[in-house]
């Protein structure tokens, strides 16, 4: 780009200029939106802002209230349950499916499409469909009852104790396809010779998976984990569409708390405090990972 001969070292700023210019959107997004927005949120979480942000600082009041709010506690518990089970099930089911798909099967494309298509649907749609299927009056329960088992009860969405598992079923339906895809890609990356070596060593299939292949897929699992985890933290639409947090408050989640308090309750400060807590959790999980993954390692 520069045609002139430099005798001295050219300005540091000008080197890679195009690259820097091209990265401006990214830098702006990172700094203004993600960093700026976060800092702004954290700052205003210490105010008593209502409908509009106002810089009237009230210390940790919002946080005290947050942690004494039963709904917040329920939200956190739900997120924990939903999160843990989603992680476990989507990884386990996703991996099982991926392992099955990796057996050089016929119709692989068909099966893959079937497992993956729910991912194309929005959470709103997912929530709606499952709300319906799980509706005791005409969904699974009524169908089973009409087949003769009249005492059959399956109404997760109307039972406070298990409603979160009803949400889980829908969430898994939507998300495991992608997990399967990611893990399948990972499985395909395993050296063919490893399989052969294990067979020659007489190691049964399941042990090969458990002790050799899965540990080898660590990077893929981490990527997958991050993708699932980011989805879990953000879970909102699904709950809104499927249960609206009900019955009562038994399927509330933190993101919904944030939204409801920021906008419905017109208590921005409370919403910001809840956001900050969510961010904090995310940060504790993510920053070490991001550092390891992107900060420490240079490209070879």
């Amino acid at each position: 780009m520069t045609g002139q001969a430099h005798t001295g070292r050219p300005s540091k700023l000008l080197r890679n200029l195009s690259s820097k210019i091209a990265s401006i959107p990214m830098m702006l997004t990172a700094v203004v939106i993600f960093l700026g927005g976060t800092v702004w949120t954290v700052i205003y979480s210490f105010t008593n802002s209502k409908l509009l942000p106002r810089a009237k600082f009230v210390g940790f009041d919002q946080y005290e209230r947050l942690w004494s709010a039963p709904r917040w506690i329920v939200s956190i518990e739900n997120l924990a349950i939903y999160g843990i089970f989603t992680l476990i099930f989507s990884l386990v089911v996703g991996f099982l499916l991926a392992a099955l798909m990796d057996q050089k099967i016929r119709f692989e494309n068909t099966f893959r499409t079937i497992f993956l298509y729910p991912f194309a649907l929005s959470f709103i749609v997912t929530g709606l469909v499952w709300q319906w299927i799980l509706n005791p009056e005409f969904g699974v329960q009524s169908v089973v009852r009409s087949l003769g088992w009249t005492s059959f009860t399956f109404d997760p969405l109307y039972n406070s104790d298990i409603v979160i598992y009803g949400v889980l079923i829908a969430g898994l339906w939507q998300g495991t396809g992608l997990v399967m895809c990611l893990l399948l890609a990972g499985l395909r990356g395993i050296d063919e010779d490893i399989w052969k070596a294990a067979r020659v060593d007489g190691i049964p299939m399941w042990k090969t998976y458990l002790f050799i292949v899965i540990p080898m897929m660590r990077p893929v699992f981490i990527t997958t984990l991050v993708i699932i985890a980011s989805g879990i933290v953000k879970v909102y639409d699904l709950v809104v569409a499927q249960t609206s947090g009900g019955p009562g408050i038994s399927s509330e989640v933190p993101a919904k708390y944030v939204y409801d308090y920021m906008f419905q309750a017109q208590n921005l400060g409370q919403g910001f405090a809840a956001s900050t807590m969510m961010l904090l959790t995310v940060a504790i999980i993510i920053i070490p990972w991001a550092y390891l993954e992107f900060g420490g390692r240079k490209r070879g």
Partner: protein, 362 residues
């Protein structure tokens, strides 16, 4: 010779592609057999069939006179070493060695004994606690061999075990494998496309091309009496020089004429009579041509040095001779500037004659 592995009419196809067709091969007890061939000729496929990793489309495989065609790999008494090592990356070396035994529910004491023995033979004792990622390429390959060793198998199968290593390590490990074979005396089947490995390691070499064994013989025969032009050209670096010409009768004796230059055939032990007029190809290895020395033909074989490639111990000359290029190897100390005119002489006792049509040795 007691048979260790015996392959009968083996066929294998991937879909419509026949990779192996009616292949027969007997490997003797304690023999070191090398399968040599260029990429894609079916060497690995054959080895995988022996190991039981691929199911043949037809034919049978016997190991120690037992039909193992349908046995699981682990029940065949074979161990296998891969090019990419195929070590389990998250296990220590010790675990890599013992994992197969543990799965087979062998008593702990016995496992330890075997691992210790393998570690001693391969001199990897100090590495036992390390992970594969902390090992050098050569060390990894040694561990991979160890994994076959601990299982106390009858037959070792190697699939290009040294191809991922650099030249120096390769020659070191080559010696080690040779030594291992001398001390263990197991049957070993070794796949490679490196002819040096084949020549140095093998008791017998099977040269393959498109799934067919071209010649199965000891290295000396392969090198000096190749059965056809493919084998002749495949073995030796640089390749054998091929001169196309025909047989002419001169003074009652058949001689070979190419591009108008005569080659007396004295000393060549032909398997069949050499009729005048037959189109043939003369093959001469670079080291069997003498430069500026007395010998047959030195009076009339003139050539000019085109390029010189000094390689330390040897010096490789590319000569222009009677309309074709010829490579000749001389001692490293003998240097020739490009353009130098030289005299050549040929020892027909070490040359090969091939039929120009069938490309078979005459």
């Amino acid at each position: 010779m007691q048979k260790s592995v015996s392959i009968k009419d083996l066929s294998l196809s991937f879909g419509a592609v026949n990779v192996l067709e009616n292949l027969n091969l007997d490997i003797g007890e304690g023999e070191f057999l090398v399968l040599l061939g260029s990429s894609g000729c079916g060497k690995s496929t054959l080895l995988n069939c022996i190991a039981g990793l691929l199911e043949p489309t037809g034919g049978q495989i016997f190991i120690k006179n037992k039909n193992v065609t349908w046995e699981e790999p682990k029940d065949r008494g074979i161990g296998m070493v891969f090019q990419s090592y195929a070590l389990y990356p998250q296990m220590t070396v010790e675990k890599n060695l013992s994992f197969g035994l543990q799965v087979a529910k062998m008593p702990k004491a016995e496992i330890d004994k075997r691992v210790a023995r393998a570690a001693e033979i391969l001199q990897i004792g100090p590495l036992l606690k390390r992970k594969p990622s902390e090992l050098s390429g050569g060390q990894r390959q040694r561990v991979a061999i160890g994994r076959a060793l601990v299982r106390d198998v009858d037959v070792f199968l190697f699939d290009e075990p040294l191809s991922n290593l650099d030249a120096k390590l390769r020659s070191e490990l080559r010696v080690e494998i040779k030594r291992l074979h001398q001390s263990l005396k197991n049957t070993m089947v070794y796949v490679t496309h490196d002819q040096i490995e084949a020549l140095t390691l093998a008791d017998r070499i099977a040269i393959m091309k498109s799934g067919v064994i071209q010649q199965l013989a000891d290295p000396n025969t392969i090198y000096n009496a190749p059965k056809n032009m493919f084998v002749a050209g495949f073995i030796g670096s640089p390749s054998m020089n091929f001169l196309r010409g025909e047989i002419v009768e001169k003074g009652g004796k058949p001689i070979f004429v190419a591009n108008g230059v005569d080659f007396a055939l004295d000393g060549y032990a032909a398997g069949e009579p050499l009729q005048a007029g037959r189109k043939v190809v003369l093959g001469v290895r670079p080291e069997h041509v003498k430069v500026n020395e007395d010998g047959p033909g030195a009076d009339h074989h003139q050539a000019t040095v085109d390029i010189e490639e000094p390689m330390g111990a040897d010096n490789l000359l590319w000569l222009k001779h009677a309309g074709h290029t010829m490579s000749v190897r001389v001692a490293g100390a003998r240097r020739f500037k490009p353009g130098t005119a030289v005299k050549l002489s040929f020892d027909m006792g070490l040359a090969s004659l091939f039929d120009a049509g069938t490309e078979e040795r005459i």
